[in-house]
């Protein structure tokens, strides 16, 4: 039953003869939330059709942890567009198994869109799924890569590093991590060469300050 449903959804994608039909077919597969549809959704990240790719990312994110291993295995080394979407899906699912891939994508990928998505994703992982000791180590690795990325020459990559640092600061499991994040964000707020990046760093500092000095009861 499920198999025939899957087959119909996949053939609709294979037979789509216009960009709009392709988007519709990918959306239908995404909405079915079938684990067996994951490989086809991942393929759709590389069709050079942004609407289809966004629908596929949504579908993969809905499937959550089930999609993590397939995404890590199928990540596309050649098509940077597909890789950026895969990194966005991994970042949104936020499973810490993606840490290594996010670290290397943020630090060394040649495509700016991939580096931006990875830097942002490094700040939003679900660290609580890691054992305590491993968690500190993982956050330190994320911190070091984000600090390095925050000095990139491309403003948009530094901006993404600020977003990642803010997320890491908000979920820091050790005071030294929060301090390192705050120090760097304050520096960027004052001295980054780009006005928008400075403003983003200011916003991040404000958010971190609000968390450490809440003005309202936290559980209201």
């Amino acid at each position: 039953m499920i198999d025939s449903q899957l087959q119909a959804l996949i053939s609709a994608i294979e037979q789509a003869d216009s960009p709009a039909r392709l988007i519709g077919a990918v959306r239908a597969l995404a909405a079915a939330r079938l684990e067996s549809g994951i490989p086809t959704l991942i393929q759709a990240l590389g069709y050079n059709n942004p609407g289809a790719a966004i629908a596929a990312v949504d579908g993969l994110v809905q499937l959550g942890v089930l999609a993590v291993e397939p995404l890590l295995e199928q990540i596309d080394g050649y098509n940077y567009g597909a890789r950026a979407y895969a990194i966005r899906a991994l970042a949104a699912i936020a499973d810490p198994r993606a840490l290594e891939v996010l670290l290397s994508a943020a630090a060394t990928d040649f495509a700016p869109s991939v580096r931006r998505a990875a830097a942002k994703g490094l700040g939003s992982l679900q660290w609580q799924y890691l054992p305590a000791q491993q968690c500190i180590q993982a956050q330190v690795e994320a911190l070091n890569v984000l600090l390095e990325v925050s000095e990139d020459s491309d403003w948009a990559i530094r901006y993404a590093a600020v977003v990642g640092l803010q997320g890491l600061g908000e979920s820091a499991v050790a005071p030294k991590i929060l301090h390192a994040v705050s120090d760097r964000l304050h520096q960027m707020q004052l001295a980054d060469g780009d006005l928008a990046t400075q403003a983003r760093a200011k916003f991040a500092c404000d958010r971190l300050a609000a968390i450490s000095n809440p003005q309202l009861p936290v559980y209201c």
């Binding site: 869109s113 006005l195 928008a196």
Partner: protein
Amino acid sequence: MVDFNSEQLMERSPEMPVGAEPLTADQAIANLRHEDLSLRYYAAWWLGKYQVRDSAAVDALIAALEDESDRTELGGYPLRRNAARALGKLADPRAVSGLIRCLDCSDFYVREAAAQSLGMLGDRTCVPHLISLLDGGVEVAQFVPGRPHLAQPYEAVIESLGALGATEALMLIRPFVDHAVARVQYAAIRAMYQLTQESVYGERLVQALNSNDVQLRRTALSDLGAIGYTPAAEAIAASATENSFKLFALKGLLEHQLRSTSEESLAPRAIEIIGLMDTLL
């Protein structure tokens, strides 16, 4: 945003010519007088690209605006084009009078580069000269037979007049908002917004985000970013273009918003734009 045809696209980032070494500023300045014309051409591009603000570089580029040796088959002046483009990036007001003379050059692309660069240099003495390129209005703003461009570089001229705040050109620019070429239309709408701050012009660019042509959507994005029309933020974020274009346009809005206030704290609208930018990473 000015339309670059393929000839120009090549000129924007020329291949390093055979025999050319990676340059230093001194070599590039010296190469502007090299007997090999391709090295002169590359050096002019290089000095702009790396923003060599040395006065010797500016002098040599100003001299290159009068070059007679580098000619195309159709009579164009490739070295003058690159020198005019580079001078826009070097922010030296001494370039203004030479660039104004280039507005009368027989080569369309020299006039276009000069008009753009004069807008970037921000010196209003060029305004009457830019205005004179709009002589005859939309009636004469037609394609030159057999060429891929209009009689004058209207897009560049109008954009620069808008950037220079040339309100005296307002009545001349207004008819171009209905020009048959979409990119000229957008340039005029963008300038009209800058000169009047009337939201009707900002909204017309927002409408253009729904164009069927992805190039036109990108142009509209870039125009909205350049004028910092903050009500467009949500429409920009939702438009069907690549995230990097949308991010760059939203950055223009955010910076406009930041510059419009002396407040220390971030305005609610700035925070909303930041929220949209975050979703595009």
